[in-house]
Amino acid sequence: MAKNNNVARASRRGGGNPFRGSLVNLFYVPTLLLLVLFIIYPLISGIGLSFTNWDGYNIDKAFVGLANYKSMFTDGNFPAIVANTFIYGVGSTVVQQILGLALALLLNARIKGKTVIRAIIYLPALVAPVVMGIMYYFIFQYQQGALNQIRVWMGMDKVAWFNNTQFSIAIIVIVNSIQFVGISMIIYLAGLQTMDAEVLEAAEVDGAYGWKKFWHVQLPLLAPSFTTSVVLNLIGGMKLYDMIKVLTNGGPGYSTNSLSTYISTVYFDNQAAGYASSIGVFLFILIVVVTFLVNKGLEKLDWE
């Protein structure tokens, strides 16, 4: 009787929802607890620490107000590090979109052995960036590196790539892009494969082939894949840490640091935990703002 009543009441509510009781919400309590303990609490206490001069080891720390935030403006390394963070983000995004889209288009055509080709191109993406970084190091290393050997064969001198800031930054961007180009490729491939065959057929009937078809029909349909891939690559590049640590460790000097690597250097090497916290807060806000702006911008860019 009570059961019948339940069902009746449920269906009267329209949705037939048997989950009126909020007891089932207990299911997400452990998850929330972990998130609050290990992400939210650190985030908030990090904001607190950013107003102190804590060294990371002593119990003593003093409130210093906005001093740490002001140091960002006087820290001679800081502008270059913020610039690097954007270069890693934007550079990787550009390279991965061009290469990823090109690969997806080619692999969507009738190509022999495309399963194997796709598998090989995706392969580096699933190995740890630090491990891949060590392997990429053998391309650019001075004495035994592959690139310098090719230069020697061509009658040129060896170059100490990692002694030069510009080369180092370019290498980090290229290596990060190449390692993860498979991800962009797969996102675009998925977009291409869900494309409605009828739309494409209709386009052909209307006389759209080759470039014309690609530009006016396929590309606009790829807008959602583009948004996904751009946001993923941009944020991934701006958070870049592992690859820099293993390839240059921020050097020469501080010149190839990203905000992420600089935080760890300031905290553990310079023992300025307060300042490191303030950079952490800065990085967090930067990522939130960039994510928001890019999502908004790409929303408008709804081709068609």
Binding site: K3, V7, G15, N17, P18, V24, N25, F27, L34, L35, F38, I39, P42, S45, G46, G56, L107, N108, I117, A119, I120, Y122, L123, P124, A125, V127, A128, V130, V131, M132, M135, F138, Q143, Q144, A146, Q149, I178, G182, I183, I187, L192, A197, L200, E204, Y209, G210, T228, K239, Y241, D242, V246, S260, I263, S264, F268, A276, G280, L283, F284, I287
Partner: protein, 287 residues
């Protein structure tokens, strides 16, 4: 004129395609070469003794320095760290699946205002860069005596991997007809029983995705793991290989062998589970 295939693969007209065919294969060949080159260089380097200064491009043909591999295992403690990685990865993945599936159930089925907020809150956690909370997180763990412990790193990585898992499970459960839950309720089961007996068994496909995504992220994690685990006895593979590499810049052969050992489990898993990796990647990218 292009021919249409079942999955809508009409890209080029056939004439266009034939004309450019060799260029396409050349381009794909170069990209594949780039992707395989680092592995090749690591292999050739790992077989050269420290005094062989020849380029990594040229493989050594005789007197291969297999002892690099032995040193990587004995001096580098690579095997210990593989075991550590297995422990940390398995525990984290189990927790992420169990807690993620449980959390997703009310979020998918009871879309109250509170639960919508909770969903958005959990999802927004994915935006936080791990390094931005490094300082307070590390000092918090030290206070809890959780630095250099398995449970410390497992709880932290569970927290950072849960949002994606909750997101994937929620989307999947939403697609399961509510009629199933209702039928269960009519048969007298309560919500907990409905979840355990009816919903849970249906979550296998999405669980495969979550396991692959979480498993590979945890196995490859370096940024947080390298600070939480500094003692080689408990260190996982990525931080171990990285610190072994920076300690052996004048004997690249050992570092190369260590890197290859670290990469092997992921590459082997990928060979067998390729389809799941790619499906998981697509599912994960929608965040």
């Amino acid at each position: 004129m292009g021919k249409k295939q079942s999955s809508g693969q009409v890209v080029y007209s056939r004439k266009d395609f034939q004309r450019g065919r060799w260029a396409i294969y050349l381009f794909l060949g170069i990209v594949m070469l780039c992707q395989l080159l680092p592995f090749y260089l690591a292999i050739t380097t790992s077989l050269k003794p420290a005094d062989d200064m020849s380029s990594a491009l040229i493989p050594r043909t005789s007197d291969l320095a297999w002892d690099n591999w032995v040193s990587a295992v004995t001096e580098g403690g690579i095997l210990t760290s593989v075991v550590n990685s297995i422990i940390v990865t398995v525990c984290t993945t189990i927790l992420v699946c169990v807690l993620g599936a449980a959390a997703a159930y009310p979020l998918a089925r009871r879309t109250t205002r509170l639960n919508k907020f909770v969903s958005a809150f959990i999802l927004s956690m994915m935006m936080i860069p791990p390094l931005s909370i490094l300082v307070p997180l590390y000092s918090f763990l030290v206070k809890l005596n959780g630095a250099n412990t398995y449970w410390g790193v497992v709880l932290v990585l569970t927290a950072t991997n849960l949002p994606l898992s909750v997101f994937l499970y929620t989307a999947f459960i939403r697609a399961i007809p509510r009629a199933i839950d209702e039928a269960g309720t009519i048969d007298g089961a309560n919500k907990f029983q409905v979840f355990i007996r009816l919903i849970l068994p249906m979550l296998k496909p999405v669980t495969a995705t979550v396991v692959i995504m979480t498993g590979s992220t945890v196995w490859n994690d370096y940024s947080l793991s390298s600070y939480i685990l500094t003692d080689p006895e408990v260190q996982t593979i990525a931080p171990r290989v990285a610190s072994f590499f920076s300690a052996n810049t004048n004997n690249l052969g050992i570092a190369a062998a260590a890197a290859l050992i670290a990469a092997a489990p992921m590459v082997i898993a990928y060979l067998f589970l390729q389809r799941y990796f790619i499906a998981g990647m697509i599912a994960g990218s929608v965040k």
